[in-house]
Symmetry: C2
Subunit: 340 residues, 2 copies
Amino acid sequence: MSRPTTKDLARVAGVSRATVDRVLNGREGVKTKTIDKVNAAIKEIGFVRNISAANLSKGKSYRFLFVLPKSGDLFLAEILRHVEEAKTVFAADMVRTDVHHVDENDPHKIAVFLATLSSDDLDGVAIMAPQTPQVRDAIMRLQERGVPALSFISNQSISDMEWVGIDNIAAGETAATLLGRFSQVRLGKILVVSETMQSRDSLERRRGFDWVLNTTFPHLEALPSLETYGSEDRARAIISAALSNNTDIIGAYVLSSEARAPVAVLTEIFVPPHFVALAHERTPFTEEALRKGSLDAVITQDTGHLVRSAIRKLRAKTDMRDTLNSQERIRIEILLSTNL
Amino acid sequence: MSRPTTKDLARVAGVSRATVDRVLNGREGVKTKTIDKVNAAIKEIGFVRNISAANLSKGKSYRFLFVLPKSGDLFLAEILRHVEEAKTVFAADMVRTDVHHVDENDPHKIAVFLATLSSDDLDGVAIMAPQTPQVRDAIMRLQERGVPALSFISNQSISDMEWVGIDNIAAGETAATLLGRFSQVRLGKILVVSETMQSRDSLERRRGFDWVLNTTFPHLEALPSLETYGSEDRARAIISAALSNNTDIIGAYVLSSEARAPVAVLTEIFVPPHFVALAHERTPFTEEALRKGSLDAVITQDTGHLVRSAIRKLRAKTDMRDTLNSQERIRIEILLSTNL
DNA sequence: ATTGCTCTGAGACACGTGCCTCATTATGAA
DNA sequence: TTCATAATGAGGCACGTGTCTCAGAGCAAT
């Protein structure tokens, strides 16, 4: 009736609990034949280890660290909010989660910090940092020291390094599809705005965007990316310049995670009717912009899911388990004013 | 350093473990003042009950039942797939999940079946069934007998009954927004097709759809809903009749969860260029239709998330706990060919 | 037969909580 | 004051697994 225990397993396999333990936990000094007997019994009675009991016995707990940028943008605020939330949720599972902020523009400092981390006081790290050689090396050394690490949102694309985030090329493609289909005009140019094009994520989004625009909506032309460097003044200057230099701009795609400055500027400046504006990431600002109509669609990823998925993956790594991939895939979500 | 236990709690509160147990588990015969002392200590040291240990001690396991329609549609197949998957995921948490199929067209039989369920062999039920008085009564009696129940996908809207699913009015609104914005024509009619309009879900989607179409896209007119009753022949007949009676049909909205018949018919029959077709629910069929272009967008809900959320909610109910609402909200997702 | 291995068994304790019994103390009513 | 009852304490066992130790059993080489 109830679940078989190691005791049942020992009985069925015709061995002692000590031997069952040796087999289950891969200890040495067991004859192959005995191992086979135990494995056969596992299958026969459908034994599943009671992880709660195991963790209780081991006094096991998990300590994970999120390494996140210092930047005060709204997307990051959402992430932080969900990390806090996750602390509560995973507390029952003996998971402790901390956050450490690094200056995203100082790869050296990031590398130095990563070098201080050790598997003694840490079971895993989720890293959101720009992809630079220094950071890359630091991560690889971190892994060599036995600290499981995964890329969080920004893909480091280090082989064997897991990654929690969306496919940014597909995100850019989705933006182009929406912009192309929403736009009611036959011919026109599209403004592409970003905080910076230094990051791999921005480049990938731009690549996907251009690809779909060129192949599916050849009547639309994406202008060179404008970079705001996070300054609203600069955003105002470059966006109005672009608008006065090109009278046929029919839409805008803000591809960085911080959309406030460009979208604010667009609402101030006169834009033609049927102008289509797209941005990334659900934040209180973009939600409000959707409601007011200053944004037509937002392409986003579920920050709560991102955080929880990262924690689940780190835990699975620590336990040398697999995760259920279908649960961990981060979807590219499309928000309109109707499905907030 | 490590997590405080009931022993620590007892020490800090200046009481015995027995009293801590009495307070934590709400047993009678404890003075209010003592309860306060313990609660204060809980806050002070940040005590969190180790649920694994508690469940281990209680030998607690959860047995949940999904009551699902017999119907063989693809959406249901997806759900079943994810229930199977969830069995594996939640096995570690001592959750056993079973599925029972009922004839969705026979409310009486459903009610009779629900009447056989008892809290002796069941900790909770997730019910996906049409909203009829008989089923409604059976569910209420079930709850009175102490079996936690929740509406799954189809909202029974019984007060105090939780529900896992999407807001179908908003889903209809989203469909209308997409159809209106994707359509490149100024004037036209829209085909609305459903298996049946008997269900509350269909009616709500239709209501949301009409609302947005009327207010935001007054140049588009939604035709009366066509009902296929699940027959491809009938679908072919009524859709082609509608298309020849109305030369200005510029799009179609399939609002039921089974889209195969109507979409298949639409691909056979000649439709005008720029025809926009929308359907619900991600299935292998709708994914393929998106890729081929026979569907322009699919409005869907994450079936894996639905199943897991239902299980988590049932477990929280059993434990008299709250769930984290932000994790449990089911999003209305929009799929294009680019973000599959 | 002895020695030195390798493999296995028996048993104990720990983890944190639930749940029980029995004893003891505190409290309030008579 | 006495007594009854309420409130609390002390302690033990259970849950399933991990992790020890120690004792043997089995086996091969000498």
